[in-house]
């Protein structure tokens, strides 16, 4: 029989501290769907996805009730679409829309994989695929897109970086009626991972099985609450407490992942040990950092606190899961975290500090709204900076910025739901255009030569 403390702790975590399984994501290979023309391929893609993930919503609802833990999102990730449409890249939108229709048929929240991997070089079919992204994101609802422009092993493809600055800008412009919402579904990576369950960057790598279940757990509120109980502890004790809490959260994720894989007749992939915030109060990574002793996230000490948090989450989570993967760490999206939103509104956090934070946490500059008149070259330069941090530190970094059309510093955008709201954050006004225009490849760092 269990003791009161343990049982009631679990109940409290769910009821008061927002413990949830953020996402059950099914990765599906689209490689068997390649046909000789775009229409037939799109039909095969729709068939495959709707059949393979047919029960994902039903099974997630059952699991959620049986184990008493909410499962917030049901998602699907697919093989990077640029590989499926290589023979007819300018018609990739047909496949993109088929995927979006499949997502609607299934009733899932997001579908990721309108993606391309161009970290070393960009083939002509990939360039033409990338050019379809803005229009596809503007005409679909649930489809997410990601592009990998660099890696520690290959360097940074600056031609792709330059193009992605333009694509982000264009995506914002053609979704101007929704404050550039298309950009919330588009992420530019360095060192993208093949088993990430989180959006907008999820895709199903070609090294994966045909259908796998990847689960992302959440629970910043649980960690914050645990730290509230030890206000005077030193940092070693704080780290221990985070580890213990991360262990419990991750074990819940592992259990759900195993059961979901079994019931959906797929393989268990990975558990992503992440602290993913939502805009709800008490479900914030920023508030954990503040609980550690910062007056506001963004002030001096933030990077150190985040580094410790990120590391302790990994240490606690690794033992709790049989297979860890994805992004695994603390997420710091601005619009999706109430502590970040408020700090940005007060002017206590800026893009430079966020960039420093991305060197020690699991992702990058995420869900940051910037002025609508930010140039494509500046966006490319932001991407290049992030990619450099990822490349040199052997970690995943990403950029998901929204240059909100017509908005300037002092305004804000509101995307609603999990995507939240964000004040427009200033960017530097000096030009990077000459650097970005050079193009070419930033060579891989010396420490990538490990063979």
């Amino acid at each position: 029989m269990f003791n009161y403390t343990d049982v009631l702790e679990t109940i409290n975590m769910v009821e008061r501290e927002h413990l949830d399984i953020r996402t059950v994501t099914m990765g599906i290979s689209l490689l068997p769907c390649i046909r000789s023309d775009a229409k037939a391929t799109a039909d095969a893609v729709y068939e495959t996805v709707t059949k393979r993930a047919e029960n994902i919503v039903k099974v997630a609802a059952e699991l959620s009730k049986e184990y008493g833990i909410p499962i917030v999102n049901k998602r699907v990730s697919v093989t990077p679409v640029s590989l499926i449409t290589a023979a007819f890249p300018e018609k990739s939108a047909l496949v993109g829309r088929a995927l979006d229709r499949a997502a609607n048929t299934l009733g899932i929240d997001f579908l990721g994989g309108y993606s391309a991997l161009v970290h070393k070089g960009m083939a002509d079919y990939e360039r033409r695929f990338l050019e379809t992204i803005p229009e596809v994101l503007a005409t679909t609802e649930k489809l997410c897109s990601s592009v990998n422009v660099g890696s520690s092993k290959s360097g940074i493809n600056m031609d792709a970086v330059r193009l992605m600055g333009e694509i982000v800008k264009k995506t914002a412009e053609i979704t101007a009626d929704r404050d550039g919402f298309g950009c919330a579904k588009l992420v530019v990576f360095c060192n993208a991972v093949e088993d990430n369950p989180f959006m907008a960057g999820a895709f199903h790598g070609v090294g994966e099985k045909d259908a796998v279940i990847n689960v992302g757990v959440s629970g910043p509120g649980v960690v914050q609450h645990a730290l509230e109980a030890i206000p005077d502890a030193d940092l070693a004790e704080v780290a221990e407490m985070i580890k213990r809490t991360a262990f419990k959260i991750t074990r819940a994720g592992q259990l759900i992942a195993n059961e979901a894989a079994k019931r959906l007749n797929a393989s268990f992939g990975i558990v992503d040990l992440s602290l993913a915030p939502t805009p709800a109060r008490g479900d914030s990574v920023a508030q954990i950092l503040e609980e550690m002793g910062l007056e506001s996230v963004g002030t001096h000490g933030t990077t150190a606190c985040l580094a410790m948090l990120n590391d302790a989450v990994k240490k606690g989570g690794v033992m709790a899961s049989s297979r860890v993967g994805g992004l695994s760490g603390a997420f710091i999206p601005v619009s999706e975290d109430i502590g970040m939103i408020e700090a940005a509104e007060r002017g206590d956090i800026n893009i430079d500090k966020l960039e420093a934070m991305t060197a020690v946490c699991s992702v990058g500059l995420d869900m940051i709204a910037i002025p609508g008149d930010t140039s494509a070259a500046t966006i490319s330069a932001i991407i290049a900076d992030e990619a450099a941090i990822g490349m040199i530190n052997n970690k995943t970094t990403a950029v998901r910025v929204i240059p909100a059309p017509g908005k300037k510093v002092g305004d804000s955008v509101n995307f609603g739901g999990l995507l939240g709201r964000a004040p427009i954050m200033p960017v530097h006004d000096k030009s990077s255009i000459k650097f970005i225009s050079r193009g070419g490849l930033i060579p891989a760092p010396i420490h990538s030569n490990k063979n």
Binding site: M1, F2, Y4, E66, Y67, G68, K248, A252, Q254
Partner: protein, 89 residues
């Protein structure tokens, strides 16, 4: 399959009677009960067996929630594995 029922809320008379009747009506067998009062709050944990239960666990969970609302308590039923997973190595 075994599950854990938790009942938490302000103490009043007849809670155990109501909850155990509710479970008996659904052929849920109670294996173990532990109950206490913590600062005026009633807290009960039951280990139950669902081998002969007339409803699936997901439906029982929904019924428990409604029952809880009716008697002004918070009632959950959850698969025991969630507690095993989170609180034992």
């Amino acid at each position: 399959m075994r599950a854990v029922v938790t009942v938490v809320g302000k103490d009043k008379t007849g809670i155990i009677a109501k909850v155990s009747t509710f479970l008996a009506e659904r052929d849920v067998n109670i294996l173990d009960i532990s109950q206490t009062i913590m600062q005026d709050y009633f807290a009960m944990i039951m280990m139950v067996d669902l081998a002969n239960a007339s409803e699936k666990l997901a439906d029982l969970a929904e019924d428990c929630r409604k029952m809880g609302e009716k008697i002004g308590m918070s009632i959950h039923i959850q698969h025991e594995d969630i507690f095993n997973a989170m609180h034992s190595v």
